[in-house]
Amino acid sequence: MKTEELISMLAKEPPTVDRAAHARGVWLPLAVGAIASFVLMVVWQTINPRLWSLAENMWFWVRFAFLASSSALAWLVLVRLGKPGFALRAKWWHVAIPMAVLAVLGAALLMRAPSGERVPMLLGVSWDVCSRNIAVLSIPIFLVSVWIARQFAPVRLRLTGAILGFFAGSLGALIYSLHCPELSPSFLMIWYVLGMLIPAAVGAALGRRLLAW
């Protein structure tokens, strides 16, 4: 087939784009993934019965801001990476800003704390399960995000995979925070961040295979 014939074939029906259908193709799976992850958290870990009293603590909202801003930034970068013209100059490192702020805060609090309190601040009561729980809760969001990203045109597959995984990790962590009693930035900067980086590493490793088009 000659190229000119291919072009007239491609242009045969009006090449209209159904924006509403494409938007549904994004928000529907995203909602399904988030709900699946939430249900998994409720069944497997339960919502923290002391959630309302936790929410009176300022640090609860610091944690919320950290996780919500990480999720939102990762999503924005992911959307840009899905658009070829923007992808090459997408400022992907923006997703690390909340982590950097948290790390400064966590380190400062550690340094100010009496030496005997430092280890409990770092380990909390759940250091041994926290990262794993976040990684597991990110799985449904990871899967739907792959589905979503495949509808776009990512031209940097490894990076897109990493950001996609980081988004799943951040939103998974946000959902996990409805269970988790840990509020100390010193704890979050290690165990939460580790849990969020696990799906990011998986995404980077599988990006080329999962997202090729």
């Binding site: 190229t3 242009a11 029906e13 090449p15 209209t16 992808a87």
Partner: protein, 193 residues
């Protein structure tokens, strides 16, 4: 600088054509793809000097990619930058499939938009897209055949195939995506003419 003005002018025209295509004007859409194919050919020929007979196949692959992913074009960006990013991606993908390591290939350009410096005519593609279409699942193949080859409207094709109008559209879309996948498969290399 007159050369720059010409570039800006061309970008403006191409983008306007592409956008009016997305708004439903098939004629200007075809004109736009035609001009893009000229730019793509020149871009790819320069970078595929060792494999000149692959150029046209890759031009067609990029054109189908551009069509399939047209919803990812954002009117806030230059069309040529968007098309360039897709062409660059497909070129790297091509090298990777061929087993050439990406780092050995110079695909980074001074300009990040498609710029044609010379204009040779199209050579024949090695791979026959029609033959690849025949390998698609029947639902996809029929929808594409009646609408894209025979030129029936969606409604007419729906009546012919017994599919609903919306599934004709979906099957065309999925079929063209499957076509793009097949173009990447090693078995697709060299099939057809």
């Amino acid at each position: 600088m007159p050369a720059d003005n010409a570039l800006i002018e061309r970008e403006t025209v191409l983008k306007a054509q592409f956008l009016s295509g997305l708004a439903g004007d098939a004629r200007t859409y075809a004109t736009c793809l035609s001009e893009l194919s000229r730019l793509l050919r020149s871009f790819l020929r320069k970078r595929l000097q060792a494999a000149p007979d692959e150029v046209e196949d890759l031009v067609q692959e990029v054109l189908i990619a551009i069509h399939n992913q047209r919803h990812t074009f954002d009117a806030a960006q230059p069309l040529t930058a968007w098309a360039h990013a897709i062409a660059r991606f497909k070129l790297i993908d091509f090298f990777r499939r061929r087993g050439v390591r990406g780092e050995q290939v110079d695909i980074d350009d001074v300009e990040d938009e498609l710029v044609a410096h010379d204009d040779h005519g199209a050579q024949d593609a090695k791979r026959d897209v029609l033959a690849l279409l025949d390998e698609l699942p029947p639902k996809h193949r029929e929808a594409i055949h009646w609408v894209k080859i025979e030129g029936l409207s969606i409604a007419e094709a729906a009546a012919k195939t017994g599919q609903s109008e919306s599934s004709v559209k979906v099957n065309i879309h999925r079929g063209l995506k499957a076509l793009a996948d097949r173009m990447r498969m090693p078995s697709a290399q060299g099939t057809g003419a």
